[in-house]
Symmetry: C2
Subunit: 463 residues, 2 copies
């Protein structure tokens, strides 16, 4: 698809000549994300400020041209891949920290700023912003807003949706809206802030976000707990989450993962380990050891093999080494593994892992599970060779059954990666028809010509 010269002229008029790319070779790098999907946009516009974005959206609305906002492409679901062509709006230059307001624990930023830049700026004033995805060094706040990104510390401090006070945005009609408040409380009007967060650029283009900051903890302690089986580990997670010391990380790896680590690294692990939890507790130094002991006590369920509280920074490193050995091991065995992101109630984790073991057998696929146990958010890794068509077909069937299992357990098909294209066609299994129809109608109010990231997030209307 190539761009009409008259439209190109108007695009340049609206966006500035320096900010418009139309050569396919220039546009190509803006057409992929970490899902390994790719499609060529007809043009790429570099966002510079709110007014420029508003002009661009107006133009796209008039001409019914798809517009896909994009951060740094670290998403895993194809949500920014321009499968219907149109214009990719890259936020990479819109990286200003508009306001740092430590007295109110607030930071106002443009969407192109990276998560890490936000953390660095907040740290100077003794704060952090809770969302901590693995891609923090590269991913943008705009992406975090689009996907409602989370990470290990979500279990204590919340995900993106819990840590944003307000937004400035442009709807699909090119109208500016301001949602939310600059305060930590507010009940005037409908909550459009949280409606936009997690909507993957399908409702509006966010041009400014007011982030809620949290004071940095003074100290942190690390524990490792090893279990005979997943059932004991899940019981421990419930017990940990039922006492007043909420950990700032409560991460999990399953027996298959432990086996893999044992084979591919030097990490020490006790014999008979069927599941492991990595736990971190933060707060004031005073009382923190007792807090960690309280968590350790809760972690000592019937099937526990060992609970270790790191006594030194070296021991912290040693304990995390096991968990950190997992990713290289996985990459080694299956460089193109499928990484799913399901969530179930904590008490259903044993049923989930048990079911996954059965599916692994049925489809002859190795499945390795790890994730954020405190939220029941498990990354299900199917170790497949994408060049083997039979295995790929098996993987498709297997994933289908994984989602069925997750929904039967009262879970959700995505905890933090989002829907995009990858899971779009499974959404109707989780959300009933009436609720989906309402979501589509809401989308049509924000974006009547369906130009904003069309074809993503919601499955097409039936019939």
């Amino acid at each position: 698809m190539s761009i009409d010269p008259a439209f190109r002229k108007r695009l340049i008029q609206a966006s500035g000549a320096d900010n418009v790319l139309t050569e396919p070779s220039d546009c190509w790098p803006y057409g992929y994300d970490n899902s390994r999907r790719q499609a060529l946009p007809e043009a790429v516009v570099m966002a510079t400020d709110h007014a420029q974005i508003q002009r661009l959206v107006e133009l796209c609305h008039q001409e019914k041209i798809p517009l896909i906002a994009r951060g740094r492409g670290t998403g895993t679901t194809g949500a920014t891949v321009p499968v219907h062509g149109g214009i990719v709006l890259s936020m990479e230059r819109m990286t200003r920290l508009i306001k740092m307001d430590p007295a109110n624990r607030v930071m106002v930023v443009e969407p192109g700023i990276t998560n890490q830049q936000v953390q660095d700026a907040a740290k100077e004033h003794g704060f952090f912003w809770s969302p901590d995805p693995t891609s923090a060094a590269f991913c943008t706040v705009g992406g975090n807003l689009a996907y409602n990104s989370a990470g290990p510390r979500t279990v204590k401090y919340g995900a993106t949706r819990d840590n944003v006070l307000g937004l400035r945005a442009v709807t699909g009609e090119g109208r500016e809206i301001r949602t939310g408040v600059y305060t930590t409380k507010g009940v005037v009007g409908y909550d459009l802030t949280r409606l936009l967060i997690g909507s993957e650029g399908t409702l509006a283009v966010i041009t400014e976000a007011t982030l809620k900051l949290t004071p940095l903890p003074e100290a942190k302690l690390t524990l490792q707990a090893v279990y005979r089986d997943i059932g004991s580990a899940a019981a421990a997670v419930s017990a940990i989450m039922a006492q007043p010391v909420i950990p700032c990380a409560l991460e999990f790896i399953d027996g298959q993962a432990i086996e893999m680590i044992r084979n591919y690294s030097q990490a020490e692990l006790p014999e008979g380990a069927g599941a492991m939890l990595m736990i971190e507790v933060d707060g004031l130094e005073a009382g923190l050891e007792q807090a960690a002991e309280r968590v350790a006590a809760a972690a000592r369920t019937a099937g526990v093999i060992d609970v270790t509280l790191a006594q030194s920074e070296a021991e912290v490193q040693r304990l995390w080494q096991t968990r950190k050995a997992l990713s290289p091991a996985l990459r080694n065995i299956a460089p193109k593994k499928i990484n799913e992101d399901v969530v179930v109630p904590v008490s259903e984790m044993p049923a989930l892992i048990g079911g996954l073991e059965q599916l692994a057998q049925k489809y002859a696929i190795t499945i390795v599970n790890f994730g954020h146990a405190g939220n029941g958010n498990i990354h299900v890794n199917l170790l497949i060779d994408p060049d083997d068509p039979q295995q790929m077909e098996n993987a498709d069937h297997c994933l289908d059954e994984v989602f069925t299992l997750v929904l039967r357990l009262n879970g959700s098909i995505s905890g933090e990666h989002g829907v995009g294209l990858e899971k779009r066609d499974f959404v109707a299994r989780e959300i009933d028809a009436a609720t989906l129809e309402l979501m589509r109608r809401i989308k049509a109010q924000f974006d009547p010509h369906n130009i904003l990231n069309p074809g993503k997030t919601l499955p097409p209307a039936p019939g």
Copy 2:
């Protein structure tokens, strides 16, 4: 207005004869709330279960009859007063605790259950539900959902919107929707849960709520900090909120309130007190004293007169006595005071209180301020005599200027009481026209015939 006999018959058919009141004398008690407004509904229906509510909404949708869901009438904004007639749907009999799930820290309830009943049931398992409005003993969870209710502990544990995972509801077309998840994470579809929370019954009738519980803290310590002036107190609030020990209550009263307490009670207060903070810190017993000391250190700003850490339960009572003497004193002086509920960024509290002092002089009205300082949420009390028409007119002008001031300070006209009728006509000052129009369009998707609590929350469309 009286009800048409044919419609009455259909209403009884849909709702059950035992659940329908149509005698004006029976209906009258369901037409008021704590705003002191009152209007007579044409009928009252006692909600019994989801299916019955769905039948009723279908009927009202067909016949375009207003339907106003109501808890126990403790709201202060007239949000449940049936000013357009129609049917009041009372939730008072729909009080079931559907599911208690301690392993997942979840409780599923019907909307008529009181906040206190939820707290009691949660406590048996070592949990609480964060929203703690003053009316907790009487107010319903449905009301808490409608207003996004909060309270003192919101500063640490969040308001209603932060503590609900999912909802079951009936839209204005009589369609069942299910929003959210049963897990503490989830990013599939748009966030309709938080859209419904705070929408004051204008989008859907909530029939079931999945509440997120929090473990009860082990211990609590109480501090009182007294300041020469509001500026010093506000600086202390910023300092307290910038260090890692977030208090579970950070309450404020101003100099006028202190003066009043001094005159109307035995509570001890140091001379020259221009503002007071009541602070509570909770957590494990181990380390809690150090945590309280950390907060006390932050509270010791330049204008501090005294910071007292209660050393015994008796001293806790003595310290709170001052704060608790305020409400009777206020009732004594001005039984029909106007109680507003504004919120400003914490750093703007001195500007707010300063501005309020000027307005008090200008309009010759005593204004007393107290509230949830950690969130900048201040209850502005205008001590007026409602039988004095001149004073009432002054109060109207004064309130108008209060809202202007609050918005100039980047605040919001309601922190936790909501909009209802009382503040509806001020909403357009806070929310711009494009955003309001979008909210109206969203309302029309949920409720195309505008039967659900018509005339509340959003100001009428212009023109």
